[in-house]
């Protein structure tokens, strides 16, 4: 497995599959290219399998506000983590504003456990580009950016080549396909900061500053990039747009549960046999996802814990396996759909160590503006590290919970909440493990665990 230089699939685990043991074939949409042998995502291949039909259709048959209505009707919700209804967000753009409108594609995929956007940009870039072009037309944007996290060196190159091809064929630039609509689209690289995935942190970074989230209101739809009306959408969200245009909102709305419509890319990782991206409707259960699609637990071990939506999502356990993977059900189960990053842990995983690793991440990524987050993420990590090393005190457990309470709902952005909620959930479901660390003054898994 030498250097990866353009050929996608084998690097990212098994191809996303929609076929499950239950026998229900799910027709893949975003990843249907995986059925095509030797597909490399060039513009000619994309067009050959039906690409760049949505853009001319959108320009010819829809007025911008009609497109917005269509996307609203489809029920498409953001795929970056917040799950905000896409059409509704577009609708907030004040059409009458004399300011320029901007569309920014959030390709800063950094939520631990998530690797679907990377796949999409490396393997099917034109789907995204076409989605961006249509979305820009819908909101009246003539200058759009793909904010691509700095570590995606290869992905940024693929995108840049794809953009050049799209310009050359007239899908971008002036007077696209003779419609009179102009659009310039550029890749803008980040430089390594999870907080730049927060939409206003992203905008600050795009403006050449520290990626520190902004106070809201005003929201980006009113004052975003360069204080102008801006829509920020995730890669996967935008990749859905061409399909909605070609096949219609009603078709889309019929996929999966009505309030969580459309295909979802679940990134499954951890202690499963077949980690990878899986494109499935959100009516699927966690059990089906893990045991039918991702091959079940590795080495036949017992499932201990699952994080269903990126590391910011509270943990779930065996008792939750029959929850369906839609936004509402996951929230009702005490967690969240989040980024769709599903991290599976077997009984070799020490949950205190998981807490240490997850809190270490937020400690590292806090931008540092807000007192509770700057100091709290560090303190959380230090206490968990002490606990894992067997230097914990009994009072540390309730201290952690109080710290988490003090970190939630009081900051400019929700990184502080994202740091706190998982730890609360580990203490909720695995408190006895924490207590064992304190009592035994050591990690019970030491030498025998997954880590």
């Amino acid at each position: 497995m030498a250097g990866s230089s353009g050929r996608g699939r084998e690097r990212i685990g098994r191809p996303a599959t929609g076929v499950g043991k239950s026998g229900m074939d799910f027709e893949r949409i975003l990843t249907r290219y995986k059925d095509i042998l030797n597909y490399t995502g060039t513009i000619d291949e994309y067009i050959a399998h039906g690409g760049y039909q949505a853009l001319p259709k959108a320009l010819r048959e829809f007025q911008p506000d009609q497109l917005i209505e269509e996307v609203k009707k489809s029920g498409l919700r953001g795929r970056g983590g917040a799950g905000f209804p896409c059409g509704l967000k577009w609708g907030f753009i004040p059409r009458d504003s004399p300011k320029p409108k901007y569309l920014v594609c959030n390709c800063d995929e950094s939520e631990p456990g998530t690797f679907k956007d990377r796949m999409l940009i490396e393997e099917e870039p034109h789907q995204l580009i076409e989605g961006i072009a249509i979305s820009s037309y819908a909101i009246g944007c003539h200058l759009a950016f793909i904010y691509c996290r700095g570590e995606f060196v290869h992905g940024a190159r693929v995108l840049q080549r794809a953009l050049a091809d799209a310009y050359a064929r007239g899908y971008l630039g002036k007077n696209i396909l003779g419609s009179g609509f102009d659009l310039d689209l550029y890749v803008h690289r980040g430089a390594g900061a999870y907080i730049c995935g927060e939409e206003t942190g992203l905008l600050e970074s795009l403006e050449g500053k520290r990626g520190q989230p902004r106070m809201k209101p005003p929201f980006p739809a009113i004052a975003g990039l360069y204080r102008s009306p801006t829509v920020v959408n995730n890669v996967e969200t935008l990749s859905n747009i061409p399909h909605i245009v070609v096949r219609g909102a009603d078709w889309y709305a019929g996929i999966g549960p009505s309030r969580s419509a459309g295909p979802r890319l679940f990134s499954v990782s951890g202690h499963v046999e077949r980690p990878g991206n899986y494109e499935l409707p959100m009516s699927i259960t966690l059990r089906e996802l893990i045991f039918e699609h991702a091959g079940g637990m590795r080495d036949g071990r017992r499932l201990k814990a699952v994080i269903p939506g990126g590391s910011s999502a509270p943990v779930l356990t065996e008792q939750h396996l029959d929850v369906t993977m839609d936004f509402e059900s996951l929230a009702a189960a005490g967690s969240m759909g989040g980024s769709g990053g599903v991290i599976v842990m077997d009984d070799t995983a020490c949950m205190v160590r998981v807490g240490e690793i997850v809190s270490r991440f937020y400690h590292h990524e806090s931008c540092g503006q807000c007192t509770q987050c700057r100091e709290g993420t560090a303190w959380l990590h230090k206490v968990l590290r002490r606990l894992e090393r067997g230097q914990g005190r009994r009072e540390d457990l309730d201290l952690l919970l109080d710290m988490c309470d003090n970190m939630k709902g009081k900051t400019i952005c929700v990184l502080s909440d994202a740091a706190a909620m998982p730890i609360e959930s580990y203490l909720k479901y695995f408190r006895e493990e924490f207590e064992a660390h304190v009592r035994e003054r050591a990690c019970p898994f030491e030498g025998n665990g997954a880590f």
Partner: protein
């Protein structure tokens, strides 16, 4: 105007007022660090959170505009827990430096912790250590451990002098404020970060370890004398066994003059008050050499010399070069003494070219101005100008040189230095009577027959009129040296020695007389001059200076 309730108190404020500002109008303190009315709002410290009815989450008071019917609570259990938590987070790594920290005793972190913070630490972690007492610039020391990252200093340097020396480096709890390597914090307004810093992270090198706030016996309101802007200041005086000492000058908020700021020159240059080289006692030249004497003795000799000149050559043989460094009251009494009592028309203050213009110009577009004295406007308004047939400064120097002027009085100007390319020494050496008043010896005082030590602005009660035409008071912060006498007293005693009555010399009485004169100050009384100054009503002919359409920042 929206009306809202804060802790049950009804408040009506203009729309767009924040909850924080609205609370302040009714005396309700909302603790805060990062917010400052003169700087951009960043909402980072999270300390000013308050409970707003029907808002699920606490709102930050510094960035939430009031709304009609809003109900705000600043002391609910939810708010108190949140405040206590923020302070606890700050104290996790804050060093226990209070015993050695200059901010102690006037420290918002101490104060808020006492009022709203936790009483004990729950942390079992080592405190993060950082570089302490770093010299940031000629006036500023920085302690990175104490810094709470409110970023007021960074924003100040970016937004006011626009020099941007400071930045926050790294992120998260590794964030640290610093200078670019090799750079210095030396913009002309650097001292303001000391006032802005809510903790002892940025402190004054001059003031370091000098005093505790409770040892400062007096905080006297005054006005900086170093240019025509007249920044409002506070003089902090410390009691010592050997006498009192002026230890610190800070700006006083005045929205129309200097807002919250002052420049470093005015802030840090006051050591001269206790400089041993100051002239202390008057001198009179005997046998070619200056001899120290008491005031009474000098004034007697001075009166004799004046009488001789006036009786021999007439009043027009006497000239007076006054100064825009003097207060309005001193200038008024000078006018009375020289124009009315002695009867000479030769009186002027305009020594520097900038004083010939209606008003001087801004030097940097911020606060500093090109006229480096405080009261040119007052001197002009009080007619410290040649009377009919009178000579101006250049004329008086020429008349001194050619013998027409037999007596010349020079108050607080070193003419030798001001006119380097003219034969001033010769001119000053010619009159049979040269009297100079100054704080320090100069080439002019060296040539004088009589030298009267002058007082500094911190030792006087009086007023200056700034370039806008605003009359502002200076108050006495320091008792003058025992042997000294203020200029009003000296002129009164000199007049008495001449058999004349100068009239009452206390500022209230002087203003009673000024108020009777026709002109810009007509009708004004001393008590009318508020702590933030008084702009006389625009009268015909009284020029109101527009500041070029730009508010002082």
């Amino acid at each position: 105007m929206p009306t809202l309730k804060i802790d049950g108190v009804e408040v009506s404020v203009p729309a767009n007022t924040t909850i924080l500002a609205a609370a302040k109008t009714v005396g309700i303190e909302v603790p805060h660090y990062c917010y400052h009315p003169g700087l951009s709002v960043v909402g980072q410290c999270r300390l000013c959170q308050v409970d707003v009815e029907r808002m699920a989450k606490l709102a930050i008071a510094c960035n939430t505009p009031v709304a009609d019917g809003m109900v705000v609570t600043t002391r609910s259990p939810k708010v108190e827990k949140a405040r206590r938590a923020v302070l606890e987070f700050y104290l996790l790594n804050h060093p226990l430096d209070c015993p050695i920290c200059d901010k102690g005793g006037e420290c918002p972190l101490q104060d808020y912790t006492l009022k709203y913070g936790p009483g004990e630490s729950r942390s079992a972690e080592e405190k993060v250590q950082r570089a302490k007492h770093q010299t940031f610039g000629p006036h500023i020391v920085f302690d990175a451990e104490r810094c709470i990252l409110c970023t007021r200093c960074v924003r100040f340097c970016r937004e006011i002098p626009e020099t941007g020396e400071l930045g926050v480096f790294s992120r998260g709890d590794r964030s640290e404020i610093n200078l670019f390597p090799g750079r210095v914090l030396d913009n002309a307004y650097s001292g303001n970060v000391i006032d802005l810093c809510p903790v002892g992270a940025l402190t004054s090198r001059e003031y370091r370890f000098q005093s505790r706030p409770w040892d400062l016996v007096r905080h006297t309101e005054s006005v900086c004398p170093l240019c025509s802007n007249g920044c409002n200041v506070v003089l902090d005086v410390r009691h010592r066994q050997r006498g009192e000492e002026l230890l610190r000058i800070r700006p006083r908020e005045n929205p129309a003059v200097n807002r919250w700021w002052m420049c470093d020159e005015g802030r840090f240059a006051f050591q001269y008050f206790s400089d041993p080289a100051r002239l202390r006692a008057p001198t009179w030249r005997e046998d070619g050499r200056p001899v120290e004497m008491g005031y009474d003795d000098v004034l007697l000799r001075l009166a004799r010399a004046i009488r001789r000149v006036v009786e021999t050559h007439g009043p027009s043989a006497v000239g007076c070069i006054a100064s825009s460094r003097l207060t309005n009251e001193e200038l008024f009494l000078i006018h009375r003494f020289f124009r009315e009592i002695l009867g000479t028309p030769h009186l002027d203050f305009r020594v520097r070219p900038v004083q010939f213009q209606e008003t001087d110009a801004s030097e940097d577009g911020i606060l500093r101005r090109t006229d480096k004295t405080a009261n040119s406007r007052g001197a002009r308004d009080l007619h410290i100008l040649p009377g009919p047939g009178g000579l101006d400064v250049a004329g008086m120097l020429a008349a001194a040189a050619d013998g027409r002027l037999k007596a010349l009085f020079v108050f607080e100007e070193d003419l030798v230095r001001e006119f380097p390319d003219r034969p001033v020494r010769e001119a000053l050496g010619r009159p049979e009577l040269l009297v100079a008043s100054s704080m320090f010896g100069s080439e002019t005082t060296a040539l004088a027959h009589g030298v009267l030590p002058a007082l500094g602005f911190g030792e006087k009660e009086g007023s200056f009129t700034n370039f806008q035409g605003r009359i502002q008071k200076v108050h006495r912060a320091l008792m003058p040296h025992l042997a000294s006498r203020g200029l009003p007293e000296a002129l009164r005693d000199l007049a008495r020695d001449l058999g004349r009555d100068l009239g009452e010399i206390e500022p209230e009485r002087v203003w009673a007389a000024i108020g009777e004169m026709a002109g810009a100050y007509q009708g004004i009384a001393w008590k009318d001059i508020e702590p933030l100054g008084l702009m006389p009503e625009a009268k015909a002919g009284y020029p109101r200076v527009s500041v070029g359409g730009r508010e002082p920042r």
